[in-house]
Amino acid sequence: MESLALLLAATLNAGTVLALAGLGLLVNERAGIVNLGAEGMMLVAAIAGFATAVHTGSDVLAFAAGIGAGALMAAAFGVLVIWLNTNQYASGLALSLFGAGFSAFVGIRYTQEKLGPRPSFAIPGLADIPLVGPALFRQHPMVYLAVALTLALAWFLYRSRAGLVLRAVGESPESAHALGYPVRRLRLAAVMAGGGLCGLAGAYISVVYTPLWVEGMTAGKGWIALALTTFATWRPARVLLGAYLFGGVTMLQFHLQGEGVEIPSQVLSMLPYLATIVVLVLISRNPTWIRINMPASLGKPFFPGG
């Protein structure tokens, strides 16, 4: 029982990185923009956050720096794809490539820097409940923030007027334009917000999750986050669930290894990816479900007045 509770705790922590980035990409895609540059944005944000934490000692500033770095990268991408109408996939890949190189380059002098021990957190009272207490209520605040963000985003998208406009921009930019909304500026805002969230995820990795900086340290988490949005059929709550599921399967395979299960570790290492494929198949076998949820103009350029 106790090991299950601990597995749950580790799952929540591992899932939070994916959830933050996944929610950011969801905002992008709801506005009709696919950004394959998540990995690059996360890396640049990771070094920005880490460097800020080293120099100021403040985690809050570090997260802010991460958000800023992510948003700035996203802005460059946004201007290219929204105003210059460059191919979204190619531009996103360029962003990933540039981000990986650039972060490694500016990060060279930070590879031997260290952050002091991060404070631990516990919600008074709740944290002392046996079993579930440590699992659920002794997490970094970012874990709870991810949950709050999910709820907020769900409310924003489905209950607020601004969210309705954002979805309209993603569904039918032409109609939104005809109604007088500044489609391109709204899209840029969404892209930057998404980049900011990816940046927050990147900073969380380098400041809290594994408090150090090494190049390429996000190690593919950006790509997994990208998979999550489709996985979740563009619904915030499902992004969070998907992130926990992926984090859970990852932790589970390590857990099974540690318990000495006689399955080759390479086969266990395939599990998270195979699980993702299986769930994707289950979700997408009903084409109407995808069609209903997928932003209709996803990945397509928009020409005002066209």
Binding site: L80, L97, F105, W223, G305
Partner: protein, 369 residues
């Protein structure tokens, strides 16, 4: 202020100039970077643009690096033109190396030289098999090919690891993760002594011609692209999107698999966990920089290889960090994408912020090419 204005016709001059301008901007930023790092910029440019091509041997090494990139990117171009986003070529490449490597391991001293053909064929089949999973799931369950192909890369890496650590491990290899070294007879024939360049180069060039013919001179190729551009029109014309789906994915899988087999039985000569070297991902960029055109892909693959090798040389000659290569590649791709805008738009000085004149939809779609 500066304004973009749509051209009535895509500018031919600009389509020639755009890659050159992009390269010039990258070079300028590069010079700035070199100066900033206290290095001689002339020397810096030399290691990226002169040294990798200054001798036959150096050129042949560019070829060794470019051949897999060209093969994979050609397949991806077919896919992307059909609006199918296979980004898991790396996995298909690994499966090609596994299948080709398995055949190569069966060879003995008596085996005929023709086994090379079997190795390459097995490679193609391996890649096709891995891509077929993507095609099947997309066809039957409408599952996103982007995600499935990407997830299968990780699965392929683990499969390779499992085989070289387990059933395929060299019994004489001190338990290191490696297969036996393939028998000499399986060596992909080299083109000249003293270089690692092999007939893969000829295969790649043939593939360039074939894919050009396929894309621009066959009905099937035409169908594929129409389906990619305007699915509704394709349906109206009676073109099957399912055929397009399977053709594009299997072709790109097969090409990646071929590249994998060429690499395994060419420079590598054995399977290790280090077979995946990122060619599958780099080829995505090569395909785009080459504008999804077979000839363009050749040039962009050569340029990409020069950057890789230049990155190594910049370290050993100038003591610059490896990260610089990534910065350069990213910058080049960015500037190229931005400069391509000039093919369809011109920059104008405008006194007032007037709305941009709308391009017609036709030119707008051409833009994406």
């Amino acid at each position: 202020m500066l304004k973009l204005e749509a051209r009535p016709q895509p500018s031919q001059a600009m389509s020639v100039a755009s890659p050159l301008i992009a390269l010039a901007i990258t070079v300028l930023i590069g010079i700035g970077l070199f100066v900033l790092l206290g290095k001689d910029p002339v020397r810096g440019l030399q290691v990226f643009f002169v040294e990798p091509v200054k001798s036959v041997y150096a050129l042949s090494e560019v070829g060794v690096k470019a051949v897999p990139l060209v093969l994979i990117a050609l397949g991806l171009a077919v896919c992307y033109r059909s609006n199918l986003w296979n980004i898991g070529a790396e996995g298909q490449y690994i499966l090609g190396a596994l299948a080709g490597g398995w055949v190569a391991m069966q060879a003995t001293a008596e085996t005929s030289r023709w086994i090379v053909l079997a190795i390459l064929l097995a490679g193609v089949l391996g890649g096709v098999l891995w891509a077929a999973i993507v095609a099947l799931l997309r066809d039957r369950f409408n599952t996103s090919e982007i995600l499935v192909s990407l997830m299968l890369v990780y699965v392929a890496e683990q499969l390779l690891a499992y085989l070289v650590y387990g059933p395929w491990k060299d019994p004489q290899g001190y338990n290191f993760p490696q297969t036996i070294t393939f028998a000499t007879v399986t060596q992909i024939p080299r083109l000249m002594a003293g270089s690692r360049l092999n007939i893969g180069l000829l295969v790649a060039l043939a593939a360039v011609v074939l894919s050009w013919l396929f894309l621009f001179r066959t009905y099937r190729g035409f169908q594929l692209q129409v389906g990619g551009l305007a699915p509704a029109a394709a349906r109206y014309a009676g073109f099957s999107s399912r055929t397009a789906l399977w053709t594009a994915l299997l072709v790109s899988g097969g090409m990646a698999g071929l590249a994998g087999a060429l690499e395994a039985a060419g420079p590598l000569r054995q399977l290790t966990p280090f077979v995946p070297a990122g060619y599958g991902f780099a080829a995505i960029i090569v395909a785009f920089v080459g504008r999804l055109h077979p000839v363009g892909i050749v040039f962009s693959a050569v340029l990409m290889s020069m950057f890789y090798i230049g990155g190594e040389l910049a370290q050993s000659r100038l003591g610059l960090p490896k990260a610089l290569t990534g910065v350069f590649q990213g910058l080049l791709l960015f500037t190229l994408l931005a400069c391509d805008t000039l093919i369809h738009y011109r920059v104008r000085w405008k006194a007032a912020a007037r709305p941009v004149a709308a391009p017609t939809t036709a030119t707008a779609t051409v833009k994406e090419a």
